[in-house]
Symmetry: C2
Subunit: 443 residues, 2 copies
């Protein structure tokens, strides 16, 4: 189906890190014209260079850093496709308007005759019928069951997960069934983990309906639930068959949820894509006003960044951890303050400010980056500090069970070098961490 | 470390099934002498031939079908090693006497500095101290925590599993930790699933202490828990770093547990290893009397059969399902009669008789096999019929949620052809299934 005419690849020999300076790898871009949006498949090549622990990447991008016309102006029926390249577990991310009205996109990824849609009480009234129709139209052999969970991070636990298993077993779903996650990050994480564990693994499809899920959580196969002592401590790496992003679903998204998702968009710019960050600085008013082409571009470019990182490091042995900028502080806020009190992206925003503060205290970034981070988060009306009830002790106790602790050492994602560069390291001055915690907590 | 001097391999071209009769593939054996038991690695090559759905295999065996002298007479410190060949997830099964007194065997597979031993209230007083010693002797950097679960199949559920997560999180175990399963099949399945899901996956080691676990459940990476509506419905395929079988642990095993494990040993003979079945017919008195060399041989040959099947079909797309002879009926007994009322192997024994009965009704085997199955199970004092309280309806309702149902069709493992041959198929006369159920149930 997919044309390979526009594909190209670039190989660079690996180079010893000790002899290179970051400036030896400036970013470079290739533009190319593509007359057929349906066959556009973006494969970006990352060259990760380790120099003093700084991760940098040179990338091939399928578009110049302006709004991608293929998304905004092509036929509304032509989805953009971003591939997640994971060998025999590769899958496409479809991005576009009106995709839920294209049954063939979903149906080509449904194996077996039984489907279980997992959604929540907020999303079900809006999109469940539409999804059931997309799954069954012209396809009478497929039967669809659904389970509607309560909405919110505080329900992302084993008790709620068991409701999915109960429904699947009562409905006599078998190994050839397909689970469909319809909702935001909580639904995607829970449905994905349920699919990973039900009968030791059935297929699943992600239909994310929030910016948070569309730009981040639905891509890359991280699934799981929370434990009362920490976020996402129980789960699986388990990849979906496809991710279907119908950008029209954002029309019903509350403003607060929109802002929360933008925290992850900003993250990609800070850790690895300075041009994208600069684009965001210019286009944030459009994003907040829900300009469709701006949103579509931000989603696509975020998915490209995510897909590239996941392809290089699926199980998070290193590079993938950088996607967690602000998340270690953020998870502590979510766990300590109470799941669901703040949205995930709100906690990540405050956590990002703390990580940036610590990076600055370590002398790893200059103050212009600190100012720009504050400025863009304030523009989105995201928090730039943790809740006042958070104490240094609360941060420390939750951060001690973070998944990035190795042999007792907490590793953090910190910015280092010019905009768009970060490190994942346990090699930092503990005083800087203490100073940051004390600067942001009253006690 | 391992010598490759004794390794050899054989490749046969694949052959179209339609032109072959089963007799075209007689079994053949190669003997070879091996002067160094430590370097003995048995790699068996299976040639699966499909002919009218009958699965047969020609095998290379490292020993003639008599008691393996390398196990019984070599130095007590020289374990037999059976490899499970799964590419980069391959691992060794160590089999021998006194292996828990050899710390280096365990310690070479422990990554990181933190270990969690998962065991139960029966096994902990017998072997926990010994295992902690083996993990820590001469290795002061490793700290060991343990969690002691209640003993029994009825505790193989989500509630008990959460106790493992609680302990792991409270102990601040990180991704570089190692879980150790010390116990029978229930402990191995639960610890393995906990390891698969904790922080999305940590390493684990199996130390099985029952015949059931040593010959079957600890090998091959099937992990999971029960749901009130069905056995093993929630879980993961997740391979251990190694399986350490210290045959001395069988000295404390109750007779009923010993017999239960032998049901799985008998299974291997019936589905794929006629010579092993014949060996069992001769040596059953020795096995029941716990003759160490007989037990060691039965364990080794069972592990070889299991390792071979798992290597060929890790995720159970076909061949591996044959290991479930008697299990679909057996799981229905365990679920319907109440988890833990009968031991797993007891239910499998009754289920095997039912599968054999159905195979005979279909005209797929002759009555000599029916008689030999009854005879060997009676010798072991295993049940040859389900509990009297089981009804046809109970069987049907539980079997409907069996993992081998595909698109609504229940597939079964049935014997077909000469001893040692079976099929995994949904293509059978429903009347035979009905007749078997009615023959074994009063209502």
């Amino acid at each position: 189906m997919a044309s390979t005419a526009n594909r190209f690849s670039l190989s660079l020999p690996s180079v010893g890190s000790s002899t290179l300076k970051p400036k030896a790898f400036p970013g470079f871009f290739l533009k190319f014209e593509n007359s057929n949006p349906l066959s556009l498949r973006v494969n970006r090549v990352a060259v990760s260079v380790s120099n003093g622990g700084v991760m940098r990447s040179a990338r091939i991008c399928a578009s110049a850093p302006v709004i991608d016309q293929s998304v905004s102006e092509a036929s509304p029926r032509a989805p953009t496709i971003v591939d997640v390249d994971l060998g025999d577990r590769s899958y496409p991310i479809y991005i576009g308007s009106g995709l839920l009205d294209r049954p063939e996109l979903l149906q080509r990824h449904v194996h077996g005759k039984r489907v279980l849609v997992v959604t929540n009480s907020t999303v079900a009234p809006l999109y469940l019928d539409k999804v059931v129709d997309a799954l069954t139209r012209g396809n009478p052999n497929v039967s669809v069951e659904s389970v509607i969970l309560p909405d919110g991070e505080k329900y992302k636990n084993m008790e709620t997960l068991m409701k999915v298993f109960d429904k699947a077993i009562e409905s006599r779903l078998d190994r050839r069934s397909t689970f469909v996650a319809l909702g935001g990050g909580v639904i995607g994480d829970m449905c994905g983990f349920a699919a990973a564990a039900f009968l030791r693994g059935v297929n699943f499809i992600q239909i994310p309906t929030t910016v948070m899920a569309q730009v981040d959580s639905s891509v890359g196969g991280k699934t799981g639930i929370n434990h009362t002592l920490g976020k996402n401590l129980i789960g699986a790496f388990y990849q979906p068959q496809c991710v279907l992003i119908d950008t029209d679903t954002l029309n019903t998204l509350p403003d607060r949820e929109l802002a929360s998702g933008l925290a992850e968009v900003i993250k990609y710019g800070l850790i690895r894509d300075a041009e994208f960050f600069e684009w965001q600085e210019k286009h944030m008013p459009g994003l907040l006003a829900r300009d469709p082409s701006a949103l579509a571009y931000a989603i696509k470019r975020s998915c490209e960044n995510k897909a590239e990182v996941v392809s290089l490091d699926e199980k998070e042995s290193g590079l993938r951890a950088t996607l967690n900028l602000g998340h270690t502080f953020g998870h502590a806020i979510e766990t300590g303050f109470g799941y669901g009190q703040w949205l995930h992206g709100e906690a990540v925003a405050a956590g990002t400010v703390m990580a940036v503060d610590m990076s600055y205290r370590l002398g790893w970034i200059d103050d212009s980056i600190v100012r720009r981070v504050h400025s863009i988060l304030q523009q989105v009306k995201l928090p730039t500090a943790p809740p006042q009830t958070m104490t240094v002790e609360m941060f420390k106790s939750v951060m001690a069970v973070d998944k990035k602790v190795a042999d007792g050492l907490l590793r953090l994602i910190l910015l280092k070098g010019p905009l768009g560069s970060c490190v994942f390291t346990g090699d930092y001055d503990r005083k800087a961490l203490d100073d940051t915690l004390h600067a942001f907590c009253k006690s």
